[in-house]
Amino acid sequence: MPVFNQSRSNIIRLIFAGMFLIIAAQLFHLQIVSKKYQQQAQENALFRKSIYPSRGIIYDRKGRAILNNTILYDLMVTPGQVKNIDTAYLCQLVGIDTTEFRHRVLDARIKNGPFRPTIFEDLLPPDMYARLEENIWKFPGFNLQERPIRVYPFNAAAHIMGYVGEVDSSILRRSNNFYQLGDYVGRSGLEQYYEKALMGQRGIEFWIKDNKNRLVNHYQDKSLDTPAIAGKNLRTYLDIDLQQLAERLLSGKTGAIVALEPSTGGILAMASGPNYDPNSLTGPDKQTNYARLALDVSSPMLNRAIKGQYPAGSTYKPIGALIGLDEGVITPASGISCLGAYLACTKPVKCDEKVPGHAANLRLAIAHSCNSFFCNTFRLTIDNPEYRSTRKGLMKWKEYVNAFGLGHRIGVDLPSEDGGNIPDTTAYDKDYNRNWNSCSMVTLGIGQDKMNVTPLQMANAMCIVANKGYYYTPHFVKSIDDAQGADSILSKYHVKHEPVTHISDDVFNVVQSGMQDVIEIGTGRPARIPGITMCGKTGTAENKQRIDGRTLKLHNHSWFVCFAPRENPKIAVAVIVENGGYGGTWAAPIASMIVEKYLNDTLRNERLPEVNRIAGSNMMPKYLVRVQFRTDSMRAADYANQTGDSARLLKYIDKANRAMLLDTVDGSRSPLLAAIRKMPNLKPLTPRVTAAPTPAAPAQKPDSGGHVPALDTSAIHAVRHKAKADTVQKPLDQKGDSTQR
């Protein structure tokens, strides 16, 4: 029997070999042919850990760090390791209750699994950190992790420095996947503009992770890792003392202050009011603070120095004079007889000075800020027979004004600068159906009409006057520490711009003398500083604004531009205080304090009370309260509409706020009222409202008083009464119906 089955041993061998060949083939397929497994293994086990370098520090001109780094701590939790801890004690330390504790641990478990640390409480305040650090050993599963954050030691220059925030999807897309989700980037200010220099170079560490996603080891002994390179430090022209003073002076006001160094274009200070505390956007409460700032209708995050667009008013006059001189249409000796109005056009342009001979020559005209003289100069400029047509004259004028840095983005090293507006022929063709002459826009000559400028542009224009004909683009950053290729970023700030070429220094002297007279004998006397020859120009810009859908003429903006000292200009300043009235009232003293502080490094003792007076005065427009109330209440109404939850709405419809509630141009269509009507369980508008005899009366309260002069408030009230008269009736009627039913 064994013999006749002998051959079967070979068959068995064949079966063995065959099966092994099949396995070998599959191995060949897995290990040699198919590449996806190697890739999947990498995805499985390799973790690219980004190492974030510390961001660059920003210094002021005296080497003081105004934007620095510090370390805060996050409390991390690894849910799988939390065992046998005194939950109540931990909750007490962190300041939460046990329900919240369980909720957060569960959240962490869901988010990152039980084996990876997740943030339990981020950015601990120093005292909480101290308490936790002492006791952390009692809480297995919890640990403290360093988190570098930005800190502003002087609590100043919020608008200039900007802030960092997590990248959003649009940045991710634009950066071509350079950034990853969760990265922090500069979101505004210098932080954003110099992001490349400040961020440094991210390092990469390759880690091996295990099946539970824990990082266990360096991959290949760090041979593939690249170290992080710290961000580069910025040296700026800013004087942080000056900046702090400027911000202090602007507190309680809307407006802006810009101080430049004329010889370099360096920005010494740039403040914008209302302001915010830059540290509020870095610490533990940054989310709430950001929300609060973003929802504030006075827009504290808006940098009015580069984004505020105002009519230039009289501060334009020195520039108008220089253009006329360069064109040759006037000479320093040119004069005009003015008796309080410019009457050459159909509509008279008022002039505040009525004494005869106040515009006998250029110097006098500037000193007295004669409207007639500059209206005339403007008309002479654009009616210049050399160009044979007013159209060409206007375009030439626009070219000049643009060369002075007005009407276009000047190129400061901050993101999202606004350009202001210098009108050209198309704007007037549209308004006047191509049928206009130099009289149609004569008030351009005194900085009104369609002219809009930013405070930065005006400060820069002052540099041109101070420098007698040239300027450097205003900028913050003087140098970037040990940076190759920094020149290319900063080189555009080393280019000299010369807008006027035909004016001799003597002629400049005439303009400057006029501006010096402004300070000595003219409208800018409040700005006078003993021992400093200062040249300046006040401005009072008409201010029209759309509020509640109607254009209102509000209180004038107070402008002041100046430079000092005259002989060797070291600082040029532009100040605007919104709704401040005459330039001499608010803007001039503020500017002079800035100049004095900068040139003398300190303020005279007798000026300190004035600083306090200005800093303490509140000139926020009163209508803001109403606008704020309306936007907030509408948001609450929308929220109530969407969710059916009236919790946020209730506070807006109590008795004290009822007047505000009805205070819209078209009250019947107020979304707030509509939302209330839809809610049967709310009874804020009971017949008591219908019984109220004068619904408009309480509305006056928030507006009356304060610093707003009577003239302005009455204008607002007039509009308001009119609006009330036809709006209040409707909701009352409807309510009446519903109560009858």
Partner: protein, 448 residues
Amino acid sequence: MSQRNPTISKGVDWSLVWIWVVLCLIGITSIFAASYHEGENVIQGFISLKTDYSRQLLFFILSGVLGTFILLTDSKFFTATANLGYAFGIFLLLLVFPFHSRVKGTESIIRFGSAFQLQPADLCKLFVNLALAKYLSRVETNFSRPRSQLIAATIALVPAAMSIMQHEMGLSLVYFSFFLVMFREGLPPSVLVIGFSFAVLVVATLLLEPNTLAIILTCIALLAIYIMRRQVKRNRSILFMIVGIWFVCVGVQRFVVPFVFDHVFQPYQVKRIYDTIGKDYVPKDQAAEASIENEQRKKSKSDNNYNVKQSKIAIGSGGLIGKGLLKGTQTRYDFVPEQKTDFIFCTIGEGFGFLGSILFLGIYTLLLMRIVTIAERQRSVFSRCYAYGVASVLFFHIVINICMTVGLAPVIGITLPFISYGGTSLLTFSVMLFILVRLDADRQMVLR
């Protein structure tokens, strides 16, 4: 070879012993690679007996000692005690039913205290092998008779049936490998062919739509009739036979397979089979679904599909030459579950790549071929049958285990001989091998 101690080593096939040593060392190294963590003291780890690799080393030494004892015994002892051993094995298997403890979803393990446990279904293949060899080598057995074949099959399949009852599909399948022994001893090849065809039919049933498969089967039947139309004309019975086969096939495909899947297999087993052929298994009812979930919870956090996927990634990422010992990221950081036992091949595949794996397979091939060679040189039928039994069991274990890790076979808990971590497995295989060496040393004797 060695003449130092003629009483033991006379006639011993040292090549087998050396292959055994090499395989065991590879096994210990692999377990070391899979469980060693950076920074541990290696020497202490090997001595402490707390680590898996040190325990495996202990079992290796224990196997060596046991092997020496086996070499010292008389060959006749094994023939004499074969039937007794079989009875003992069956007794142990029966003992499981009242005394089993539930570990990892099986009901096949008896525990003695906390440290020691016994899996009779695993151990029993040694006794079956001996008993089968004994039966086949009896003078009065005429294996060409169906009755003898049936008895032989029963000897092999009774433990298999009991294993199934203990929810150990994998171990029960091992007993089917004894058909290779019977094939060598004269079982008609048609049995193997029919068995193979049946397997193909079952897989096809799972892969294809029932109606499609029925049409294909019908087409094959018609084609067969067409090709054999001359023979059919001469002999009508061929026609009936074809129709009969067709009928059985369709019956199996339509009724038997669904019935077995729904009523005989556990739902998780069905799921594993579906996973292997790459189809989603939709449980028929809530109970089945719950059963699968329950099973998964007991086994580990992830299902077997995950195991196989991770295993394939680990092996696939090895590439041509591998990442090197202790460099495998997948096997070192616990991505592959059950890695020290059922999926130990991943460590070799990832660490040493395609070349290493082929070399490793080569060692196994060498072992199996050597055993077949040894089997063929035996004078006694008992020794030959026993040798073939060892080869078959080893072959089945190796092929199913490796196919499992590379995704060619469903995940049934079967160890890789001499490599996988586990004392019972290593001891059983070592004893089987050393008995073979002992029998081979006495190959001039005729054992009955």
